[in-house]
């Protein structure tokens, strides 16, 4: 998708691809909600929704083009599987808390998964939501932090040091766990782990990821947030059929 339209934000999607895949294919139950608070990884979300069957591949093919619904950031209310427009950071966890509150009032046990970037942890509104959800013990709210250590214009620890995010969530009344964010098996198994099954608090899953995972020389660089993919990079990442013995 990115290559077809020469679009940026490739690295942002690549760091969250496994997370979104596992949430949707392994954890998701009917009635659950997935909010991609880091809306700049929309292409990863669209791809997962297409694989899941919420949307068609042909829809995805219009990504980034004139007149598309599939903009660089998810739009409001038109795409199955996407309840809210996201892209301005710091909204997702509040939206998730609102859904958790609504579910609680309706005695609905569906889970709400919110995928945030680590740069997004700079936003004050995120911590308003963390405080609120912790206070109200929203046990069905799960915040997944894509902890790739890189934000818009630098490394997270150089811009605004986040330190031990799990400890911060715990201080705010959440459970927290760290997992390798590209390990599909580890992520999948988390769902049946003790910390996921028997909870009375919201859960933060800090996913240690690599920005631009697999993105050639741009892997783990600030540049992979922005730069579109070259033909050469694409060929390296997605070898044509028959290449490399495939």
């Amino acid at each position: 998708m990115y290559r077809n339209v020469n679009a940026g934000h490739v690295g942002c999607s690549l760091s969250a691809a496994e997370i979104l895949t596992v949430v949707k294919f392994s954890w998701f139950q009917p009635g659950d909600e997935l909010i991609l608070s880091k809306g700049h990884a929309a292409a990863a979300l669209y791809s997962v929704l297409a694989e899941y069957g919420d949307i068609h591949d042909t829809d995805c093919a219009t990504f980034y083009q004139e007149g598309t619904l599939y903009a660089a950031h998810p739009p409001p209310g038109k795409i199955p599987g996407i309840r809210f427009a996201t892209g301005s950071l710091g909204h997702g966890l509040s939206l998730g808390s609102g859904l958790a509150l609504a579910n609680k009032l309706d005695d609905d046990n569906a889970r709400i998964y919110v995928v945030c970037s680590d740069g997004e942890m700079n936003e004050g509104s995120t911590w308003e939501a963390v405080l609120f959800a912790g206070h109200h013990k929203f046990a069905n709210l799960v915040c997944i932090v894509d902890r790739n250590q890189i934000q818009g214009f630098g490394r997270t620890e150089d811009v605004i040091s986040l330190g031990d995010l799990g400890a911060k969530f715990r201080q705010f009344g959440w459970d927290a766990v760290e997992v390798p964010g590209h390990d599909v098996d580890a992520l999948s198994e988390l769902y049946t782990s003790e910390i996921c099954r028997s909870r009375n608090k919201p859960l933060a899953i800090i996913c240690n990821t690599i920005k631009g995972y697999g993105y050639c020389e741009l892997e783990n660089t600030v540049a992979c947030h922005y730069l579109p993919m070259t033909e050469e990079q694409y060929s390296k990442m997605v070898p044509p059929p028959g290449a490399n013995g495939v």
Partner: protein
Amino acid sequence: MRRQFAKSINSIIETNPRLIFFTGDLGFSALEEVQEKLGPRFVNVGVAEQNMISMAAAAASKNFISICYSIASFAVFRPFEQIKVDVCLHNGNVKVVGNGGGYGYGIMGATHHALEDIAVMRTLQNMRVFLPAFNSDVHANAEEMVRHIGPCYLRLNSPVKMSLRMPVSNYAGWTKLSNGVDLVIVAAGSILSSALILAKQFPSRIAVWQLHETPIHRMPDELLGDLARAQKLLVLEEHVGPGGIGEALAAILLEMHNEGPKVQFQRAYARGYPSGKYGSQLWHCEENGLTGAHLMAQVSNMLDK
């Protein structure tokens, strides 16, 4: 007006089991009964207006009617992006209620005043802005706001307590409050009291029209008739000029081209803090020429021309 609002909500919630009331930690001595009646549907989010608006939008997406209450300045400006994106972009059923619009919080100072709220809120898609002036408007506005499916902003202020009010039947966008042939004054909210004082001082000369909400879809034929007769319009607003109701009305009149009345158009609006000093709501309105001698001079001048 906030107590009247609380009273209205107390009655409205009886027939709205999906109503959630969010407050940004405000409502002491006004919202206690609402809190008691709503139980878990009354949510004090703490001093966290951004979170309040986004959560309200999310709850609205699950078929709740969300009301978000705070001081007008805090309800509008701090979470403006949340209102724009999470509420208005989704046409969410969220009602933002701001107490103390304009200089309503008087001596509390500039941080507590909301002089730009109408301007920014009326730019948002799907947003209806309600501007009650009398206590009786509050209930009508609150009912209409809850009945309407979509974003609304209710700007509460001090109620007008004068008795020049004409009989009002149902909720409407406009109400004529006094008859007059030489000048039309349009105002919204509690600053209407200034217009009513002037109408009393110049009997039968000033037609006072109350505007209840924006966007302004049309001007009533009777108002257009008054304007055609008087050929003079003064728009009075406890709000800054840019983006206010004066500009909105000017645009409508311009867009009417030759079909509209030709009027001498003037505005009296808030200029902020000309002296850099602070006082009561009335003091600020006087300093800004929204009441008192300066407004009297402006009106006298218009009547004499």
